[in-house]
């Protein structure tokens, strides 16, 4: 293989453990004993090893520990997982390799921060959600704003200079003023990256019962107009403070965009390690089973571990390229489109592009296309049009 061009690859590691599940969370997560955590990490390593054959065609660009709460694990476990990856995969120059770890404020001691730094983790994503302690309580978060501040400060002290902070809008009882305060508090800390999400009340969460349409607390959610104002405010406040929006929900200071997440939107292959994790490899999308016992048992055996394999046709790939690519503010490049699919974007979507441009949903330039602010607002509508 020496000398051959290796393909880029992202690795996502799912750590499904939490001290307590948040009220709005629909991710796969559960509480676990130290024993189970250890068994699970061993299973992760078996899964990583099962990719030995594929590994030789790829070079890993990004590693992302998500959850759940990855920071719940003993620091040593993180090191073991990373070492397993280094054993199996070729990774790019450590200076350029992006390793992100999601951290729940309130689970990390100074010692842990130092360990993370030592293992080469170079990007931290902190789930703050709000700087209002009442709101945090409603959400079922285990930390206060003050605890977050303490955590954030430690991270800086240890030398993390690429930190993301998550904030949420449209929370129960949240006013536009409250939300503005949260945003401004976060901006004052000057993290390199901010993700902002509107609360979505998902089925299967604790919020569903009370806050779904028709639920008895539904009225506490901000109305449509307020929600929209929050959404517009996000862009206004963050852009004023030197963050640029590079994706629908993601803002970053110059050059500090998340490489790992960007790879999801640009069709870079990735493998998801862990229970319920999703992968995109060899033009196939597939998922690991969602039962943790089953996962631990079969982690090393691809056939038994995965489910829901979807083999993408050329049409699927083209559709995905468009609706994922258009999530990014820089849009999709026509040249890149042709390079990938040996057909021009004009030939596939010409009429649609003109129609959407006419409706002021998208800007149609010679080299690329990208959504207008209005197009972003109704992006699901726009994206659905790109399905072939």
């Amino acid at each position: 293989m020496h000398g051959a061009m290796k393909k880029s690859l992202g690795i996502y590691i799912h750590i499904p453990f939490c001290i307590k599940k948040c009220a709005y969370c629909d991710f796969l997560s559960m509480p676990a004993t130290l024993e189970v955590q250890k068994e699970y990490v061993e299973a992760l390593i078996r899964e990583i090893e099962s990719y030995k054959t594929d590994a030789k065609y790829y070079e890993v660009q990004t590693i992302y520990f998500g959850g759940g709460t990855p920071s719940i694990l003993e620091a040593g476990h993180i090191e073991h997982i990373l070492n397993a990856i280094y054993d199996v995969f070729q990774v790019q120059n450590k200076e350029l390799l992006e390793i992100t770890l999601e951290v729940n404020p309130g689970t990390v001691t100074m010692e842990k921060w130092m360990s993370y730094k030592m293992f080469g983790i170079n990007r931290i994503s902190m789930g703050l959600q709000s700087t209002d302690n009442d709101e945090l309580q409603v959400l079922g978060r285990i930390h206060t704003y003050e605890e977050f501040l303490n955590s954030f400060k430690m991270a800086r002290e240890v030398g993390f200079y690429n930190i993301n902070v998550d904030v949420m809008s449209a929370l129960p009882g949240q006013t536009l003023e409250n939300y503005k305060k949260s945003l401004e508090n976060v901006v004052n800390l000057s993290p390199e990256h901010i993700s902002s999400y509107s609360l979505i009340v998902e089925e299967g969460t604790r919020f569903w019962e009370d806050y779904r349409e028709g639920g008895k607390m539904f009225h506490l959610l901000p109305d449509e107009e307020t929600e929209r104002k929050m959404y517009l405010l996000t862009k206004e406040v963050l852009e004023k403070s030197g963050y640029s929006r590079y994706e629908i929900s993601n803002y970053a200071k110059n050059g500090m965009e998340s490489k790992h997440n960007s790879s999801y939107w640009t069709g870079v292959p990735y493998i998801g390690i862990g229970v319920g994790a999703s992968s995109y490899l060899d033009n196939q999308r597939y998922q690991n089973k969602r039962d943790i016992k089953q996962y631990i048992l079969y982690a090393g055996f691809r056939e038994k571990r995965i489910c829901d394999i979807e083999v993408l046709s050329k049409e699927d790939m083209i559709s995905e390229f468009m609706f994922l690519g258009l999530r990014r503010m820089c849009g999709v490049s026509k040249k890149e489109f042709f390079k990938r699919f040996q057909i021009s974007m004009e030939e596939v979507y010409g009429d649609l592009l003109r129609e959407l441009a006419e409706q002021k949903l998208l800007i149609y330039e010679d080299e690329k296309i990208y959504l207008t602010d209005y197009g972003i607002d109704v992006s699901n509508y726009v994206f659905s049009k790109f399905l072939l």
Binding site: S196, S278, I376, D377, N380, L387
Partner: protein
């Protein structure tokens, strides 16, 4: 040849859900024609839809052999009758084929509207009526009270009425013995010319039309040239036979008193209308049997393929359904909103729903149905009278002198506590009160004249909900009466949508228009622009709602694990669009065209 004295021809009549099909099953089981293992849950109702809904749509017939306690073998012909007011005429023809009827009454509920209606119908045909009290296993069963009810209200002797549980197979023997003892044997003349009553027919791809008939006089066998006296169709008999459970058993001839089937080289059930008399073409009988009439549809609606390209498939499916259902009518029509489709005529709303479901299930067609309409008589200023079944065809108001609408006489049975709310309902539906009878202290029979167009919307549902399910209802056509009717048009984004127009009484137009707009507002998804929905009579707008423009439809998170899910979501969004109808630049979901049916849901 079978002696007539050993034949018993009978049917079972009952209010819906009082256990007609279950008793039929038990009778078949007890007579030993089928083993218990072979029994399907309900042998007689063999259409998938009938089974699900628990209603018999087409008459089913079975011939069984019973060895009675007197040691003799009897032939029972059990003719199962359709169980819904829409099929009243078919019921009457089935009854005409019998000498007796088993009247089932639920031991807990007692007499209901259809019990009475069906019982009177049977009495009209001079049938011997054998009351049977069913469901005595229910905790709430009160057979003595029900017996007293039968004696008081109908005036039948209940001394020997079997008390049974068809579900548990309890005392079924009593019913069988009573059939032998009480129901008269047929008494046809063997030497008279062949004369038989058609009580049903069905189309079979191999045998052609199969005529179900009751022979009154004479005999028929292979080679006989037969004639249908009303339609005039003639054909040579290919096969005759009797009915096993779910199968045809050929035999040499059918003779006076027997119930059986005839196949002849007939291609269309239209030639073999229910109620017609079959005779020998070479030696015809003098007079046809009484009571034949051509049944005409009462309710019309437009049916359109959801996917315009499926139009030929819809023709094909309707033609096939019509082979078995002479009362289904259809003719092509076009709608600006819905494209090419058919105006279809039905016996009633249930018939409509059944056809719609069969098209969807058996023929895999996605159907858009417009609001049902009755036949209006429109008297024009030039003296001409036209019949209108499609609101869009209504002439300009300036050309209309006056209009008439069909009126039915309805009988509603209800427990006395709900009399008030049911009377209110009838009032709201423009009913004219005719009278009320107390059947006993707790129940009353209300009589109203009601416009048919008030019933075809959601009258049944309203009736049920206002009586907590206790009211039962039956009606018959009364005739046409003048009425202040107007055409209500719906405009979506300023464009009139022809398929949403309907004809309504002037007094309720405002209310209906308002509700229609409200309903459509919830049915039509947001678009990128604001959509006004208006209801109008002529050029006068009487109600308005607005579907706000879509301003936000974003999925905030889309990372590795979300992509497949997200794609499915977008696909659903796209699929949903496909199933919508484009009117101007507005996409209207198909169920919106049925909105008018559900205006009273709240």
């Amino acid at each position: 040849m079978i002696e007539q004295s050993k034949i018993r021809n009978f049917c079972i009549v009952a209010h819906i859900d009082h256990g007609k099909s279950t008793l039929a099953d038990r009778i078949i089981e007890k007579t030993g024609l089928l083993t218990s293992r072979e029994m399907q849950a309900q042998v007689l109702d063999n259409m998938e839809l009938e089974r699900e809904r628990g209603i018999t749509i087409k008459a089913q017939t079975v011939r069984i052999v019973y060895r009675a306690k007197d040691g003799e073998e009897y032939i029972f012909n059990l003719i199962d009758t359709p169980g819904h007011v829409d099929f009243n005429y078919e019921v009457s023809r089935s009854l005409a084929a019998c000498e007796g009827a088993i009247l089932i009454v639920d031991a807990a509920q007692g007499i209901e509207a259809q019990t009475l209606a069906n019982c009177y119908l049977a009495l009209d045909h001079n049938l011997e009526i054998l009351p049977v009290i069913n469901k005595i296993d229910l905790p709430s069963a009160d057979p003595e009270r029900v017996k007293a009810e039968i004696e008081d209200i109908i005036g039948l002797d209940t001394e020997f009425a079997p008390l049974i549980s068809a579900k548990q197979g309890l005392n079924i023997e009593d019913v069988l013995e009573q059939i032998v003892a009480q129901i008269p044997a047929p008494s046809g003349e063997l030497d008279e010319p062949f004369k038989a009553l058609i009580f049903d027919s069905l189309y079979d791809a191999y045998k052609g039309v199969i005529v179900f008939c009751r022979v009154f006089d004479g005999r028929v066998g292979k080679g006989t040239k037969i004639r249908m006296m009303a339609t005039g169709a003639e054909a040579e008999v290919v096969e005759v036979g009797t009915f096993g459970a779910g199968q045809f058993i050929p035999c040499d001839e059918l003779t006076a008193g027997m119930v059986g089937y005839i196949t002849a080289s007939l291609k269309n059930v239209k030639d073999t209308r229910v109620g017609d008399t079959v005779t020998d073409a070479k030696n015809p009988c003098m007079e046809p049997l009484p009571g034949y009439k051509k049944v005409n549809p009462m309710v019309y609606c437009g049916m359109y393929p959801a996917d315009g390209a499926k139009y030929p498939d819809l023709i094909d499916a309707l033609e096939k359904l019509q082979l078995n259902d002479a009362s289904l009518q259809f003719e092509p029509e076009t709608s600006i909103a819905l494209g090419f489709g058919f105006r279809c005529g039905f016996l009633g709303l249930l018939h409509l729903e059944i056809i719609q479901e069969r098209l969807e299930r058996e023929y895999n067609l996605d159907i858009v149905t417009t609001a049902p309409s009755v036949i209006y008589h429109v008297y024009k200023t030039d003296g001409e009278m036209i019949e209108i079944t499609n609101p869009s065809n209504l002439p300009d108001p300036s050309e209309i002198d006056h209009m008439e609408e069909p009126i039915v006489t309805a009988e509603i049975m209800v427990t006395t506590e709900f009399v008030g709310s049911i009377m209110n309902l009838c009032q709201e539906r423009r009913g004219v009160y005719l009278g009320m009878e107390y059947l006993e202290t707790t129940r009353a029979l209300l009589k109203y004249d009601l416009p048919l167009n008030e019933i075809i919307y959601d009258f049944f549902d309203a009736l049920k909900s206002r009586s907590r399910g206790y009211a039962s209802f039956d009606y018959e056509m009364k005739g046409y009466e003048p009425s202040q009717l107007v055409k209500l048009d719906i405009l979506i984004n300023k464009e009139e949508v022809d398929a949403l127009s309907f004809i309504v009484h002037a007094d309720t137009a405002y209310e209906r228009g308002r509700k229609m707009c409200e309903k459509l507002k919830t049915e039509i998804p947001r678009h990128l622009f604001e959509i006004p929905i208006q209801a109008a009579i002529g050029s006068k707008v009487i109600a308005r709602e607005t579907v706000k423009a879509m301003r936000k439809d974003v999925l905030a998170k889309c990372y590795g694990g979300d992509i497949s899910r997200k794609k499915k979501l977008l696909e659903k969004q796209k699929e949903g669009k496909k199933r919508m109808r484009q009117v101007g630049n507005v996409e209207i979901p198909q169920q919106a065209f049925m909105s008018v049916l559900k205006l009273d849901e709240e």
